[in-house]
């Protein structure tokens, strides 16, 4: 029922220069690894990227940075990437830093038909400059607006042919909201299964939000391996 792509190149071929894209993941967990590699390959330019982080120097969205494909980045924490700092300082890259909860809610709102909402996060900080402040029950809140994308590239553990998705553990993060906020949403999944194989009660993202899926093997690089100390 949904488009099942065979190659990652084919999955992103409609993407054009200047597109706004959302890319799932928290750090390197839950990123659509092969879709990002295909984007690097495609060399589409002047992207606006909405993602919590911007990868590391040699993996994830860091690869797009290295290839100078990003003009504007909207995220909450971008400290793991040296190319990022260089490009911001040179003026090549514009950054909009957004509190993580505001970012996730702006994306959720984008997919849920809500143009804006009020949140306490950022009141009294530099982020409040130029934003509407409204008081509810004696407390101030900032007006924040919804985010949508031309393409959302997300990652799930399992997807069926109706586009229903299930995520693994903390690899869920921003993926479900981005699925709904994309005009076109492509899901890279670790495993495509026959429709009906996922119990309908345990579907995280209903297939209505997903336009195409593709199976991809993940490297799952670990940013900070932390293990029990052996005595």
């Amino acid at each position: 029922m949904k488009e099942i792509y065979q190659t990652f190149t084919e999955a992103i071929e409609k993407m054009e220069d200047g597109a706004t894209i959302m890319v799932g993941g928290f750090g390197l967990v839950g990123i659509p690894e092969n879709l990002i590699l295909a984007l690097v390959e495609s060399n589409v330019k002047h992207l606006t990227v909405v993602s919590n982080n911007c990868g590391v120097d040699d993996w994830g969205l860091g690869l797009l940075l290295k290839n100078h494909q990003i003009d504007r980045m909207i995220g909450s924490y971008v400290g793991e990437n040296k190319a990022f700092e260089r490009q911001v300082l040179s003026g090549e890259l514009k950054v909009e830093l957004v509190p993580q909860g505001t970012l996730s809610e702006r994306i959720r709102a984008g997919g849920a038909g809500i143009p804006g909402f009020y949140t306490p996060a950022g009141v009294g900080t530099p982020l409040a400059e130029g934003k509407e402040i409204r008081s509810f029950e004696g407390k101030d809140y900032l007006l924040e607006t919804a985010l949508k994308s031309d393409f959302s590239l997300i990652r799930a553990a399992i997807g069926d042919k109706h586009g229903n998705l299930q995520y693994a553990k903390t690899a869920q993060n921003f993926n479900p909201m981005m699925a709904a906020a994309g005009k076109v949403t492509i899901a890279e999944v670790e495993q495509v299964v026959e429709t009906g194989r996922i119990d309908p009660a345990y579907i995280h993202t209903p297939g209505i939000y997903v336009d195409g899926i593709i199976e991809g093997k993940q490297e799952k690089r670990i940013e900070r391996l932390t293990v029990q100390q052996e005595d």
């Binding site: 390197l28 911001v88 830093l97 505001t102 996730s104 530099p126 903390t170 909201m177």
Partner: protein, 225 residues
């Protein structure tokens, strides 16, 4: 003032051990990235505490053994972790709904400056590369109680507890309590109130190293930790 030398590691440990006493059994707690995360190592075995991680986990467990590392399971500091029995996974939107909706009992976060009205600065230094605020600006408005743990002075020996913050704020009027290597100080509507002094520090020394008026609690405990 007499020069005192304390081992940095043991100082941090001391702060973490004192911060642990803020955690009430049966509560839901978010520990910030860095030093606050380490408070988890000191939670007493008889306390039942559920730790929340803003990347989408309620019920952070211990660090994994080598053979049980799961790259899909991390905390907000991107460290590999495990989940406790009874844990739940969810999206970032759900996670911050839980946070802003005041469902967490306590958050323990790091700080650069705290003002006497409870303003917190902990995310940027003008002129330095800004890495981002992550979830801090949401969390300070969410948990029912916000405890800041930090060194009493900057590396340059300047007070971090001030009448007004000099650095850009993370949140206004959000801090309830500060725990440092020298003292436990509450933020009240009347300003800072010294509740405890740490071993090796007198009331006057704490006052001297604080950049705002410091009231002394009638219930002050000296050399409390």
């Amino acid at each position: 003032m007499m020069l005192k030398q304390f081992d940095k590691v043991s100082t941090r440990e001391k702060i973490a051990i004192r911060a642990e006493r803020e955690i009430v059994s049966g509560s839901y707690v978010n520990l910030g990235i860095g030093m606050p995360t380490k408070v988890a190592n000191y939670i007493q075995a008889d306390k039942k505490v559920i730790l929340q991680s803003e990347n989408g986990l309620l019920g952070i467990g211990r660090f994994p053994d080598k053979h049980e590392v799961d790259p899909d399971l991390i905390n907000a500091g991107k460290e590999t972790v495990t989940a406790v029995t009874g844990a739940a996974y969810f999206s970032s939107a759900e996670s911050f709904a839980m946070i802003r909706g005041e469902h967490l009992d306590l958050a323990i976060l790091g700080g650069m400056e705290v003002s006497e009205s409870g303003d917190l600065a902990n995310w940027m230094i003008p002129g330095k590369m800004i890495k981002g605020m992550g979830g801090a600006m949401d969390i300070v408005h969410g948990a029912k109680k916000i405890v800041i743990i930090m060194d009493h002075l900057t590396r340059h020996g300047e007070p971090k507890i001030l009448k007004e913050c000099q650095l850009p704020l993370t949140g206004k009027n959000v801090v309830d309590r500060i725990i440092t290597d020298r003292a436990v100080i509450d933020v009240t509507k009347d300003g800072f109130v010294l509740q405890e002094t740490a071993q090796g520090w007198t009331i006057d020394e704490v006052k001297e190293s604080t950049g705002a008026k410091l009231h002394v609690s009638k219930q002050l405990i000296e050399e409390a930790f």
